[in-house]
């Protein structure tokens, strides 16, 4: 039985790089980026595709910077992001 | 049909609070004003549902007042000198947050634990600060049990008009003595949403905050400038005093509270001896009746300031007089109440004798 598919979005401008989510993630999916945000924090990014949407990261996040998604079977995915090896830079539109 | 009753000052004040529809009282026992808490504990809740709570200290009392006043309810507390000292931090917070409420100080002899007899040694504390920072309380000084009763409604009216704490500065004798009081009819307790209060976030509006903290200096200065403007308004509009026999006076007593009545008697005795003496009784100690005193300063031979302290209001009298006439002082301390006779002797020796 395959693991549930999940994903998260991190508000990198709110993130303070405290790494509590990194420690909480059972899939080791998170790590500090090599770049800083506008406040100078090394924000957190996803580093693999193993996310199960367990919400552990969001639960421990002091900034409320994480939204968690899980494949609830309600909608067909239109894209699949694989082989994530380098940092993903998310440009935030206001 | 007037409703008249012979009442003790503290109880008349408590009864007045019930009748004007006060919502809550938080207090702590201390002589000579425990009757306020006791009377309210017996009478208030069953008659109007008013909250009456004996707190664990004056520090707790004033903070309960702060919390409740932030909702816009009519709340008050009372204490006596050492207890009022404990409340100073809370009073400063209330003044900065601009919360309407009533405070009552039944002044006893001090400093320190002092005595339980009357005193007026808290004038500075009441009028000049007491708590930290640039703030003012509106201070009302009753001199009769009737005024102890009347000033409750007046105090609340001023408090809500200006969003400022109001202090009734009475003394131990006024609190304990019994006089005839005309009581006002019972009003219903009403509650108005004042718009800025913390009563639960209002639909479609930002949440409200009651605070006195502002870490940005520029903002904090703006708040202070606003407060000072408010105090100027109060000084312009709310000065209250009583003149007794001043029209033809050569010498004028300046005294507040109970002492003003003693000076009125002393002035009578002086007139019997052929001296023309009047009394100026400040009723509001803040705002101080500077203008009327200044007016008389150019017309008379001298002022006699009489207080139950080492000389506190006299500084404001001197500031008002600005050197235009002599200002002499007579005072008793430690809880002693001067007699009209000794006040007259002081007038003769210090002021009239000196002027000759």
């Amino acid at each position: 039985m395959a693991k549930a598919k999940g994903d998260i979005i991190i508000d990198i401008e709110k993130c303070k790089g405290c790494e509590l989510c990194v420690a909480a993630c059972p899939q080791d999916s998170l790590a500090q980026a090599k770049k800083v945000n506008a406040k100078g924090y090394l924000y957190i990014v996803k580093v693999n595709d193993e996310c199960t949407g367990c919400t552990n990261c969001a639960l421990v996040c002091p900034e409320g910077a994480i939204t968690v998604y899980r494949d609830t079977g309600k909608k067909e995915p239109v894209a699949k992001i694989t082989n994530v090896k380098s940092d993903i830079t998310v440009t935030v539109k206001e | 049909m007037k409703e008249l009753k012979l009442m003790k000052g503290n109880e008349a004040l408590a009864e007045a609070a019930i009748r004007m529809g006060c919502d809550a009282y938080f207090g702590y026992p201390i002589t000579p004003q425990s009757e306020v808490l006791e009377y309210l504990s017996r009478e208030a809740t069953k008659r109007t549902g008013m909250v009456v709570l004996q707190a664990e200290s004056e520090v707790a009392s004033i903070n309960m007042v702060y919390g409740a006043a932030g909702t816009g309810k009519k709340v008050f507390t009372s204490s006596s000198s050492p207890g009022i000292s404990l409340m100073q931090e809370g009073i400063s917070y209330i003044a900065c947050a601009e919360l309407p409420c009533l405070l009552v100080n039944v002044n006893r002899g001090g400093p320190g634990l002092g005595t339980i007899q009357p005193g007026q040694g808290d004038y500075f504390q009441s009028v000049k600060g007491g708590g930290h920072g640039d703030y003012k309380l509106i201070v009302l000084a009753p001199s009769t049990v009737q005024e102890m009763s009347d000033f409750v409604q007046e105090g609340f009216d001023l408090a809500f008009k200006y969003r400022n704490p109001v202090l009734i500065l009475a003394d131990g004798a006024l609190g304990q003595m019994m006089e005839k009081v005309e009581l006002s009819p019972q009003k219903e307790r009403t509650f108005e949403d004042l718009g800025w209060t913390t009563i639960g976030r209002r639909k479609g509006e930002d949440s409200k905050i009651v605070t006195s903290l502002n870490l940005k200096s520029e903002e904090m200065e703006k708040i202070n400038i606003h407060l000072q403007k408010k105090y100027k308004e109060i000084e312009k509009n709310e000065v209250k005093y009583e003149l007794i026999g001043c029209e033809d006076a050569d010498y004028i007593f300046v005294a507040f509270g109970l002492v003003a009545r003693l000076c009125t008697k002393a002035a009578e005795l002086a007139r019997e001896k052929g001296m023309k003496v009047g009394v100026i009784r400040p009723i509001t100690l803040f705002p101080f009746p500077t203008d009327i005193i200044r007016e008389y300063a150019s017309k008379i031979k001298g002022f006699m300031d009489v207080e139950m302290n080492a000389g506190q209001m006299i500084e404001d009298v001197r500031l008002s007089v600005e050197g235009r006439a002599p200002v002499e002082f007579y005072g008793r301390m430690g809880g002693i109440v001067p007699t009209p006779e000794e006040i007259l002797v002081a007038l003769e020796e210090k002021l009239i004798g000196g002027a000759k």
């Binding site: 405290c18 790494e19 990194v22 421990v60 | 702060y66 309810k73």
Partner: protein, 264 residues
């Protein structure tokens, strides 16, 4: 909801959200709290409960002096700032005149267990129908790391630079245990927010406490054993390890008083 949190493609579509941060009871701003500080988690789960219970417009919070004095900049509910130590007295004043509203305090260890000890004990003893949230991180955060009544024996701080010397300053004060003995304390519990499972439990405790308040049951008291990475001079991950390995053995988690009288 801020639009940047929805990619609207792949998995990240509205229908698949299993967790989103509070939208209404919290402002969408960065807090001033240090990275990894438990205050952030506590505020967030409190806001979540308030939103989920639908009481955003019926609740008033009291935030006294401490790192969290600015909680009113983060929680979008009516709030009153209080003098140091006096939060429970202020809350008493509010609750007594507005008994139909939810009222809570959110206090640190200096506030509740040092300067406010008198108010804390008497408020609980009177059974004031409020929720007291007590963030215990064994140190004075806001003022730069001085010893608190709850600082552990041997723990260093700026005023116990050689470690808390019990012979000199006494033992840490276990306020929650003291308060649990008072008859009018209805629900007293000690929780933490350093691990996901604990975050869930603490959130449940807050919800329970607010439900009890609606039923008029008496004082609810929730201690949250938390961290202070900055003043403990640790990284956030190290500080939560310290919570697990040192704080919690001294301040054990669990219910100290529940309505049915047994350990929960």
């Amino acid at each position: 909801m801020s639009e940047k949190m929805i990619k609207d493609e792949g998995l990240c579509v509205k229908e698949n959200i299993v967790y989103a941060p509070p939208q209404d009871a919290m402002y969408d701003v960065s807090t001033h709290y240090c990275p990894g500080c438990g205050h952030g988690v506590a505020h967030r789960i409190l806001a979540e409960v308030i939103e989920e219970m639908g009481i955003t417009n019926d609740i008033i919070g009291v935030a006294p002096v401490g790192c969290s004095v600015l909680a009113y900049n983060y929680l979008n509910i009516d709030m009153t700032e209080a003098a140091h130590g006096r939060a429970t007295a202020v809350a008493t004043g509010i609750k007594r005149v507005l008994p139909d509203k939810y009222v809570f305090t959110y206090q640190g260890d200096g506030d509740l267990a040092a300067i406010g000890t008198g108010e804390t004990i008497h408020t609980v003893n009177r059974g004031e129908n409020i929720l007291i949230i007590f963030i215990n991180n064994g140190i004075y955060g806001m003022t730069g790391g001085q010893m608190a009544p709850t600082t552990l024996p041997g723990m260093k701080s700026t005023t116990s630079p050689f470690g808390r010397d019990v012979a000199h300053v006494g033992n840490p004060l276990k306020m929650t245990d003291l308060v649990a003995q008072l008859p009018s304390a209805y629900y007293v519990t000690r929780q933490s927010v350093h691990k996901p499972a604990n975050v869930r439990k603490t959130k449940k405790a807050i919800q329970k406490a607010l439900e009890y308040q609606k039923e008029g049951k008496g004082t609810c008291f929730i201690e949250i054993v938390s961290n202070c990475p900055s003043n403990w001079k640790m990284t956030p991950i190290e500080s939560n390890k310290f919570v697990e390995e040192s704080m919690i053995p001294f301040y054990p988690l669990g219910d100290l008083k529940t309505p049915n009288g047994k350990e929960g």
